[in-house]
């Protein structure tokens, strides 16, 4: 049980957590753009790109989700915001997982479900990132409890 006293004037999101959160969004966005390109061109390589970008997004989302889960217990009085961030990440992860499976289908079998899911997962990742970056504010973090 460690009590953390933050003496700095502002305690924003942890830099590493920020990297994890911020990395997922462009990957999912890249997946969405690749899906759009495939749906317009039938060029299969776009579908391969989408599958890998989504898998990459899932790696970062997975770790960020784990981090957010731990944060639930450290959030103290700002717990409500931490819960929102966690839930949004969980939704992103669930949608992303289904999307990854849909992108495991062969050829046009990914369409249109994959495109729709890519839109949803990109939106969810954007919201999760937004909420993650706005969870902690100046002076709000006092004592973290395990």
């Amino acid at each position: 049980m460690v009590a953390i006293v933050d003496h700095r004037p502002a305690r924003a999101i942890h830099p590493l957590h920020a990297v994890l959160l911020a990395a997922a969004l462009p990957l999912f966005l890249g997946g969405l753009l690749s899906d759009i390109a495939y749906s317009r061109s039938y060029e299969i390589q776009w579908s391969n790109f989408a599958a890998w970008l989504i898998a990459g997004g899932m790696v970062f989302t997975g770790v960020a989700l784990l981090w957010a889960f731990i944060d639930l217990f450290r959030a103290g009085r700002r717990r409500a915001r931490a819960v929102v961030c966690f839930v949004l990440l969980l939704v992103t992860f669930a949608l992303g997982l289904v999307n990854a499976f849909v992108h495991a289908r062969d050829a046009w079998g990914t369409m249109p479900d994959g495109l729709i899911l890519s839109v949803l997962v990109t939106l969810a990742a954007a919201l999760a990132t937004w909420s993650g970056f706005s969870s902690f504010r100046l002076g709000e973090m006092r004592l973290g409890e395990m």
Binding site: Y42, A51, A100, H103, D106, A107, W108
Partner: protein, 448 residues
């Protein structure tokens, strides 16, 4: 994919597998019922769990014996019985298509569990039973340094071998046990990517033409249409010049070819596409019509469209031919051979089909050799089990049949690429020697 998504994948797989725990049995014959397509999140997988035969033997019908005539081979696939009774075994594993997606990486690891781990032999092994007692006491390497040899045909004193990248030939004299030198190349074969690498082979009775079965480069065009140039078709190759032309197209993976005695018609077993459900799409046995188009990739069983292929080609689909005989979905037929009256009255007219067995069906199918009876030169009636017991009730898998060949002396030769064995299923009462009873002792004819 990260670890948690893999775990979730496993959980989901279990869940999905539970959903189609009891798919309706496979449909056989000329008019199979084709169920609705399923586009699930994951194909239900059930991978063979390899196990040693030990004292077990494959199960054969009453009146037949089964013996292992060669073991410890380097992945035996197809066999050829030579005029003097010697047996050639093509050994090897080809392919090497790169993983394009996260799925390919994961599926590759999973599917590899159900196959042998020995090295590719890349050779032809000759087995000889000089005294005709059913024991093949002599074993020599006929030719080596080949590249995943698969199809074989002997015609006009030439032994043709379909490597995964070229059709080659050796001059052959009766009784020869070793090729005189490296083979002569007849023609190159499409080998870019080589997703389905096996090149099946048959020769026209007059020896003028060779027919080479070339499988598709994907399940259903997921490597792009450019990768499918010269794929999913049977080539007719001029034996003299090596020139080729497509003989029939739209055959997804024609894994074995045979010429029908009498009519001279070319027949093929073809493996159809996956991931549309446990009872789609039936693998089939068909006579191959010159110039015919059999649907892949746009459609299957005639005009049933596959929506995973875009853009479609309605003109070609309209001309797609329905195959002759459904063998059931996912059985993975890899061998075909016309029978002869030497196989006994029950099996006198028809074809034997080696079924390697499914990987993406919750209730496995295949893992056996069947007989499709013929009447008046065409399939008539349901398939009959001939060699079974390759997979136990518990999923333990002792062998996986590939090529089948009829020995005119009254035996069926079955290559097994999991236990690396060649089996000989012989008509018992035709066995000419006194040690036949000991052979019978090793046969399990009681269906256990």
């Amino acid at each position: 994919m990260n670890r948690s998504s893999l775990l979730a994948a496993a959980a989901l797989a279990a869940l999905l597998a539970a959903c189609d725990d009891n798919p309706s049995p496979p449909e056989y014959g000329a008019n199979p019922q084709l169920p609705e397509q399923q586009h699930g999140l994951l194909p239900s997988m059930k991978i063979a769990a390899p196990a040693s035969w030990g004292d077990r033997r494959p199960t054969v019908p009453e009146g037949f014996t089964v013996t292992a005539i060669a073991t410890d081979l380097g992945i035996p696939r197809q066999t050829l019985v030579l005029p003097n009774g010697d047996i050639l075994v093509a050994e090897g594993r080809g392919g090497g298509a790169p993983a394009l997606r996260p799925k390919d990486v994961i599926a590759g690891v999973i599917k590899a569990r159900g196959t042998t781990s020995v090295q590719s032999g890349n050779r032809l092994t000759l087995l000889r039973d000089a005294d005709g007692d059913g024991t093949y006491e002599e074993r020599t390497v006929f030719a080596d340094n080949l590249n995943a040899p698969y199809g074989m045909a002997l015609v006009n004193g030439q032994l043709y071998v379909a490597n995964q990248d070229a059709l080659v030939r050796f001059p052959y004299r009766d009784g020869q046990t070793r090729a005189e030198g490296p083979p002569e190349k007849v023609t190159g074969l499409p080998s870019h990517i080589n997703h389905h690498w096996t090149k099946s082979l048959a020769a026209s009775p007059d020896g003028r033409f060779l027919y080479v079965g070339i499988g598709s480069n994907s399940n259903i065009t997921e490597r792009g249409m450019a990768a499918e140039a010269d794929r999913a078709m049977v080539w007719e190759v001029d034996a003299r010049t090596g020139a080729h032309r497509p003989y029939a197209t739209g055959l997804r993976n024609p894994t074995a070819l045979a010429i029908q005695p009498g009519s001279g018609t070319l027949w093929a077993v073809v493996n159809e596409r996956d991931e549309l459900g446990p009872n789609l799409v039936p693998d089939y046995l068909t006579s191959v019509r010159e110039g015919g188009f059999y649907g892949w990739p746009y459609s299957y069983w005639g005009q049933t469209l596959d929506p995973r292929v875009q853009p479609q080609d309605p003109e070609r689909v309209a001309a797609a031919i329905k195959p002759d005989y459904s063998l059931g979905s996912h059985v993975a037929a890899l061998g075909v051979a016309f029978s002869s009256p030497a196989m006994g009255e029950r099996f006198a007219e028809g074809v034997f089909v080696g079924e390697h067995g499914s990987w993406n069906r919750s209730v496995p199918s295949g893992y056996r050799v069947i007989f499709v009876p013929f009447r008046d030169g065409a399939p008539a009636g349901p398939p009959v089990d001939v060699v079974t017991g390759f997979m136990g009730e518990d999923g333990k898998t002792y062998g996986r049949p590939v090529g089948v060949t009829v020995d005119p002396k009254g035996a069926l030769i079955v290559a097994d690429d999991l236990s690396n064995t060649v089996w000989r299923v012989a008509v018992a009462d035709r066995s000419p020697t006194a040690d036949a009873p000991s052979d019978m002792g090793s046969a399990t004819t009681d269906g256990n």
